[in-house]
């Protein structure tokens, strides 16, 4: 109400004059199309990130640092409200950072728009609404490759090899698929840009345990091709089992970090987050 008067619709939901479907909610923080020189280091660094939503919102992240090496799987876990997804959004440029910076492959990308980050090799799979439901599977993949000027058929072939079920269903509307298959479409769409870093926001939310295991297998396969993976997960134990590196966030700050195995073995982490 008190905010932007242009966004005050007085609670009107009249379907004959307004269309709420698919409306954009993203508020990109960055504005620049080109990165600045940074320093060499790990492939992706989110350094001392502090910030919150909007220009005036309260800080959600406090001095949080996340690093991913090339071809590595990094997992962010933590209790509800710890700022896991927020940390990932900060890396992707959908959060106003008040301190800290984001480096990708030695370049400072802190001021980049999300689209520019996609062009620089970041692929992002949001937690919800991550596919074009009214379009076919193949069209979803095509849209993933929208920024590419070259021939993307080989990438599509790779996606189909990774997720054979998608080849079968390629002419079906993506919205008609099951939950697990939708996630495969979502990951496939992000892979079409040939990213060097794939970011997944709770890819297994709402899918059955069997499907979850299969998804994790596929994610390992993706990582083997040299793509770095940054993933936020609710299912902490399973995720840490496949992780090269794990971050436990507590109230927007780094709580514990280490390799997946170390965290799984750490008695503190086990007691507080993994249920004994």
């Amino acid at each position: 109400m008190s905010g932007n008067p242009y966004q005050d619709d007085r609670g009107n939901t009249d379907a004959s004059v307004t269309n709420p479907h698919g409306q954009g909610r993203l508020t990109p923080a960055g504005t620049q199309p080109n990165p600045m020189p940074g320093k060499q280091g790990p492939f992706l660094v989110g350094e001392n990130m502090t910030g919150g939503y909007g220009k005036t919102g309260p800080d959600i992240l406090h001095d949080c640092t996340i690093e991913v090496e090339r071809g590595e799987i990094a997992v962010i876990v933590g209790p509800n409200g710890a700022g896991k997804s927020t940390a990932m959004k900060a890396v992707f440029g959908m959060l106003d950072l008040r301190q800290g910076r984001v480096l990708l492959d030695g370049q400072d990308i802190t001021q980049l728009t999300p689209q520019a980050r996609v062009r620089h090799g970041m692929g992002f799979v949001p937690q919800t609404s991550n596919i074009f439901t009214s379009m076919t599977v193949e069209e979803n993949l095509e849209m993933g490759a929208f920024i590419r000027e070259d021939d993307f058929r080989s990438s599509m072939e790779q996606v189909y090899e990774l997720f054979p079920i998608l080849r079968e269903k390629r002419n079906q509307a993506a919205g008609e698929l099951s939950g697990g298959q939708r996630q495969q479409v979502a990951v496939g769409r992000a892979l079409m840009t040939q990213p060097k870093l794939l970011m997944l926001d709770e890819p297994t939310a709402g899918v059955s345990p069997i499907v979850m295991d299969e998804l994790f297998d596929r994610i390992i396969e993706v990582a083997r091709t040299g793509i770095s993976i940054l993933m936020v997960e609710q299912n902490a134990r399973q995720a840490l089992e496949i992780a090269d590196k794990g971050y436990v966030l507590v109230q927007g700050a780094n709580g514990y970090s280490g390799t997946g195995k170390e965290l799984l073995a750490d008695p503190d982490v086990r007691r507080s987050f993994l249920g004994g």
Binding site: Q23, L26, P114, Q115, V118, S134, M135, E142, F146
Partner: protein, 336 residues
Amino acid sequence: MDLLNGFVALANFVLIPAIAYGSQLALGALGVTLIYGILRFSNFAHGDTMAVGTMFAVLTTWGLQAMGVGLGPFPTALLAIPFGILGATGIVLLTDRYVYRFYRAQKAKPVILVIVSMGVMFIYNGFTRIIIGPDDQRFADGERFVISARDFKEMTGLAEGLSLRTSQVITVITAIVVVAILFWFLNKTRTGKSMRAFSDNEDLALLSGINPERVVLVTWLIVASLATVAGVLYGLDKSFKPFTYFQLLLPIFAAAIVGGMGNPLGAIAGGFVIAFSEVGITYAWKKVLGYLMPPALQPDGLMQMLSTEYKFAISFVILVIVLLFRPTGLFRGKSL
């Protein structure tokens, strides 16, 4: 023979006019539905966009006629359509640049845009009336009939005549061509697909690198073209009067909603549903029934369910009935 006569009468007074009118409504509804799908509001200025486009076409037609350029048996206005589209596109893009774009940047709620479109409606309305005046303008020329009722009677020896006006034939053919191109564009081209993607999920489209401003630009281009074509066809079939075009807003909205807002296929179906109900319910069925029914059962009255002045009421009643039984319209509110 009676059966044949009855069918000819039916075709002459109901089927042909309804198909022509339905095509015009469908083209109008397509424009409304595209805006609804991509810019996410109902454009109250659409009727007046049609009027603006048609006005440019009418002015060009007069110019061409004055220069002696014509198309022989076809109306000169066909030549003028591209100029009409050009004019409408110019106006619409100017409006987008100086009016709508600001609200997109503000991420304004769609209902604010609806009110904005009311302002645009006032401006277009005034603009059209200032330039061409509020009166009826005729601009059709060329052969009036493909088949006139008299020729038809002589040809077939039937008691009933069937007249097929050039404008009706042109309307249907043009509508089919335009719709085919539009569907090819939306489903087969990269830009068209990006429009559908944007309509489906704006955020994901952004993350895929689709440029929203480009999508919006293309949408306005298409909408201006559709509106102009629809307007010129309607004008050829009937006549051009700014107020009538403004009034078309209700049947066009009704068609778009009946079909399922945001769904192009639905817009076309809706256009024909509305057109057939309007023409069918306001037609005096006495003649047709006279041929089809045995003499004993022949009706005395005109068998006209409602007088023609109620045609706007019919679009509305159909709309309510459809919504009562299928709240998302005939084609489930799938986006584009």
